[in-house]
């Protein structure tokens, strides 16, 4: 059983009323979900993500959407067109660490695994995209 997505950082929320996993305070909440997901006997997997340039501006701290670069997006069904702020080198490392920390929380909560959600144009895909992570903007940064 794979859950719906949960954001690993406060600025990674992609949908209204999306449940969170970016802090240890959410472990009890995640534990309830893991128990419910496993109650039928199947293993449970927590789907973790960062919405990247598809984060909802009114839901992220300061209304600041971040991505691999400052390339302007087109409007999606759940997000407006935005010109995100490019993550710094240190912030990229923080995001990688956040995925790891949420994985630890998933284990502590009783999940059997995690799924890295890198589809739909979210943050992981932002970095894989030649449009949103153009080669000429990678100098001095992780690609």
């Amino acid at each position: 059983v794979i859950t719906g997505c949960t954001h690993v950082l406060p600025n990674g929320i992609g949908f209204t009323d999306e449940f969170a996993s970016y802090d240890d305070g959410f472990v009890p909440s995640l534990r309830r979900l893991a128990a419910a997901a496993k109650s039928g006997g199947a293993p449970a997997v927590l789907q973790i993500f960062h919405a990247g340039n598809k984060a909802v501006p009114e839901l992220v701290p300061g209304g600041e959407v971040v991505s691999a670069s400052a390339v302007t997006t087109e409007a999606g069904p759940f997000s407006p067109p935005v010109t995100p702020r490019a993550l710094t080198h240190d912030e990229i490392l923080d995001a990688v660490r956040a995925f790891g920390e949420t994985t630890r929380r998933a284990i502590e909560a009783g999940f059997d695994g995690i799924e890295l959600h890198g589809a739909h144009g979210f943050l992981i895909q932002n970095f894989l995209s030649p449009r949103f992570n153009p080669a000429d903007r990678r100098v001095g940064r992780l690609a």
Binding site: F19, L33, A36, S39, G40, F78
Partner: protein
């Protein structure tokens, strides 16, 4: 606009907004949407569902729904 959802999802309501443009195939009776046979509980026509509470914790409705679905009903 919308295609039928996978077997097991009852009371489907065809999408009449722009979900088709996003690749969303159907909207089911609990506000979930179906994309390429995957159920996405966190998004709906108004991008508002019951997955989480305002403080980011998992909602009671979400927990109840999982218990319902993983036990074959």
């Amino acid at each position: 606009v919308a295609r039928p959802a996978p077997a097991g999802l009852a009371s489907l309501t065809p999408s009449d907004v722009t979900e088709a443009d996003a690749g969303i195939d159907a909207v089911c009776d609990v506000g979930q949407v179906v994309v390429d046979d995957h159920i996405h509980p966190n998004i709906g026509c108004d991008a508002t569902t019951w997955a989480g509470n305002a403080d980011g914790t998992v909602s009671d409705e979400e927990v109840s729904y999982y218990r319902h679905r993983v036990n074959g009903s």
